[in-house]
């Protein structure tokens, strides 16, 4: 209650309303409205609610088994990801070793690679068409989420609490369970929720690495919507998915609890540990896991891109039959979209994060939180087809505008921006705001002097992630109607869609290019974090 008085004063002002209005407006227009439009068409085609399809679906044993598989593979994938990635998050956020920044960028790369490309890499390593392949791919893709979300908080945690526990006689494990885990709980809760949502709504991984024998709710929605135009069944499945997603978010909210009572956060660079003694083993084991799980498939990709010597790369600058421009020009298109999507996501997501920190405990705050997270849990095809119906008239005739692509990318990036920023913002000591107020800062100024600069640095990290998401985004881009300006992932998809060694080499070369582009953008923005690269 102490910190909130300063906050409350401000929260009665226009500023807070604006902070809430930005994400709410953006999401209602570009997400809720399209999704409701398509659901309405499925559930109430003649204007009146028709529950017959609902009953049909509920009686369909096949769909029940699809739902059951969706759930348990998601739970299993999430657990495995957490078990493997949590130690990695620790090592990458706390140990001081050469190449740490590079490793951190490396683990982020998979997250943004198109599934087709990863599928090719996995398959050529001999991993394909099995549950194991699905699980491995889920860890491969989601490792970065845990490292980013949990690591960003971990790097700021003051060790003294843990040391106190050790002194009080708690063993390593006990200290971790009773002191470290609770402190990290908000971040772990957030990471768990994202990873679960990603695995629950997994699409490309299931299709490519699972094979036709495996189906999830997401692949079923795609089939019913895009292939059969069976909107009734799709709508019922979407509702089912929505229910599961809301439940997952509720659990995660519970796990995150209210505020974390961190008295101080320490600057990350003061908080690293030298790698000596047993830490060498810890570091070695984790680097080995990263190398095996992430490094190997990525290396395979690079190796395949040189199958035809340098020809794959040379080919990128030529206009091949059937392409309007050389593949390389899509890099520029991708970067432009990424820039716009990043700014949109950071602006909208950042506003939401600031607003959420203010009113997290309240019902409205929970609603906003849910609203922001939902795009992760709704099928891209539902949103894409929703756009078609929702934006068919002025002033929102956006269906065929190039702007729709960065908007779709931003929708996916916003939850990450929020998830990366909220833990840092919640951890701001309320006394800092009070101190500023006592020193004569009026409430809006307190926000500008304390919350904003601290939030901005978290936002820069989030921006790196958002840019990477946009660069690699493929699913949503595929489901929305887009003008003939292609992004790099779409080029890769089209190259892979054609026979011939040359096309294949070019696709691998383009994938390698995308990989380095992503790693580069993440690295660059991390450098940008602070001129002195010190606090936060």
């Amino acid at each position: 209650m102490d910190g909130d008085r300063v906050a409350m004063n401000f929260s009665t002002r226009v500023g807070r309303q604006v902070l809430i209005a930005i994400p709410v407006l953006f999401l209602v227009i570009f997400f809720v409205w399209p999704v409701l439009s398509i659901l309405r068409l499925g559930l109430a085609p003649e204007g009146a609610l028709n529950l017959a399809p609902l009953l049909d679906v509920l009686n369909d044993a096949t769909l029940w088994s699809v739902a059951w598989f969706t759930l348990w593979q998601a739970v299993l994938s999430t657990v495995i990801t957490l078990v493997i990635a949590l130690p990695g998050a620790y090592v990458l956020s706390r140990y001081r070793f050469r190449g740490r920044g590079l490793t951190r960028a490396l683990v982020t790369v998979p997250f943004v690679l198109p599934t087709v490309v990863v599928g090719a890499a996995f398959t050529s390593l001999g991993v394909s068409r099995s549950l194991t392949a699905i699980l491995l791919a889920h860890v491969f893709f989601n490792y970065a989420i845990v490292v980013r979300t949990v690591g960003s908080l971990w790097s700021h945690i003051d060790d003294r609490e843990q040391q106190a526990a050790r002194v009080l006689g708690a063993g390593r494990v006990r200290t971790f369970v009773s002191v470290t885990l609770p402190t990290l709980r908000p971040a772990i809760g957030a990471a768990t929720a994202i990873v679960f949502l990603f695995c629950f709504t997994s699409f490309g991984v299931i299709l490519i690495l699972g094979g036709p024998g495996y189906a999830t709710i997401e692949t079923e929605i795609y089939r019913q919507t895009a292939q059969h135009l069976n909107l009734e069944t799709a709508a019922v499945l979407s509702l089912f998915q929505l229910g599961a997603v809301i439940a997952a978010l509720a659990v995660s909210n519970r796990m995150s609890g209210d505020r974390i009572a961190l008295s101080t956060l320490r600057p990350a660079n003061q908080n690293t540990l030298p790698v000596i003694g047993k830490r060498r083993i810890m570091l070695g084991v984790n680097l080995f896991v990263i190398g095996l799980l992430i490094g190997l498939p990525l290396t395979q990709l690079v190796v395949r891109s040189f199958d035809g010597g340098l020809d794959g790369y040379r080919g990128l600058t030529r206009t091949t039959f059937g392409f309007a421009e050389p593949p390389i020009s899509s890099v520029w298109t991708s970067l432009q979209y990424a820039l716009i999507a990043t700014v949109l996501a950071v602006f909208v997501g950042g506003s939401a994060a600031f607003a959420l920190v203010r009113r997290r405990e309240r019902a409205k705050g929970r609603l906003l939180n849910l609203l922001v997270m939902l795009p992760l849990g709704i099928s891209a095809v539902t949103v894409g087809f929703g756009f078609l119906i929702a934006f068919d008239a002025e002033p929102f005739e956006l269906r065929s505008s190039p702007a729709i692509i960065p908007i779709a990318h931003a929708l996916i990036a916003i939850p990450f921006v929020v998830w990366l920023m909220v833990p840092v913002l919640t951890a701001i000591d309320p006394r800092q705001r009070e101190a500023a107020a006592v020193l004569g800062a009026r409430p809006s100024r307190v926000w500008r002097e304390i919350d904003f600069p601290i939030g901005l640095r978290a936002a820069l990290v989030a921006a790196g992630f958002a840019a990477a998401i946009s660069l690699g985004e493929f699913g949503a881009t595929l489901f929305i109607v887009r003008p003939d300006t292609v992004t790099l992932p779409v080029v890769i998809f089209r190259l892979l869609g054609r026979p011939g060694q040359e096309m294949y080499s070019q696709a691998m070369a383009a994938s390698t290019l995308l990989m380095f582009l992503t790693a580069g953008s993440v690295l660059a923005i991390e450098r940008l974090r602070s001129p002195h690269a010190t606090v936060f």
Binding site: D2, Q432, V535
Partner: protein, 335 residues
Amino acid sequence: MLDINGLSVHYGDTRVLSDISLRIDQAQIVCVLGPSGSGKSTLLRTIAGLETPTTGTVSWDGSDMTKTPVHKRRFGLMFQDHALFAHRDVIGNVSFGLRMLGHSQDVVESRARTALDRVGLSGFEQRHVHELSGGEQQRVALARSIAPEPRLLMLDEPFGSLDRELRERLVGELHDVLRSVGIATLFVTHDQDEAFALADKVVLLRDGTVEQQGTPQEVWLHPETEAAAHFLGFSTFVDATVDNDVIKFPWGSQPFSGPRPTHPIRVAWRPDGLHFNPEGLIIGVVSASTFRRDHFLVSVTTIHGTMSIRSGEPLAAGTAVQITPDMGAALILPA
């Protein structure tokens, strides 16, 4: 000058401060002394405007400030754990208040440097706060509080987390700084040494109420309640009655001069008001001796209760002793 009148604060149903009245004059240093949980911090926070009183007023120079927002009060508050801005360097912290006043860059810069100079931290401008030691952080916090020249400076346990030696040195330094700045200061602590070393006036706070206030000498020598006495180091309490010029103790009567108290009474001594004496009338057995740097504190079990006595050397537990109280050092309280 600050006037607090009938101030009460509740957190929900819990009463934290109750009917506090207090006054601080120009350039006066007032120290609120009380055990943890007595409401000291809440008092400061309420004066600063960070908490809203349920009843009562806070006024400055006669004008009511109870409804004035925090940032318009021009009071300084130094937080217990300093609450330095982790995302700013030392000069960024110290100049914060000056910037809020809207001074030009030059003025902000020079005054911040003056404040830093005053606390002996010239040359630390560009350092990050996490690079500083506890004592340096404390001084930065002090400089940050005094730089905008608040009309009232409040310090919340400013030395709480520091080691004793550093604390003693800083208390001295703080005294000099406060005198040289010459602003009204309200300062809370649980440490009597700090309070009596710095204050013009001491306010004893207990369970959210003012137990006693007065000059350090008055408060030190004449606590008005048993709780106050207890807090200020009186450790032996005995019930007694008064008969003319004689106080009747369970172990016998002792003559007493001074204002005639009404009976029944309670008489209290600090450890140095009791002495071992082979002819003493109080008989007891030593239960423990504790080393206290320049003396020992000996606990003695007697039929009148436990007594604490200052001693030059330790006494073994179980030793039979006899004690004489020094009536000149006795504190007479109403029972």
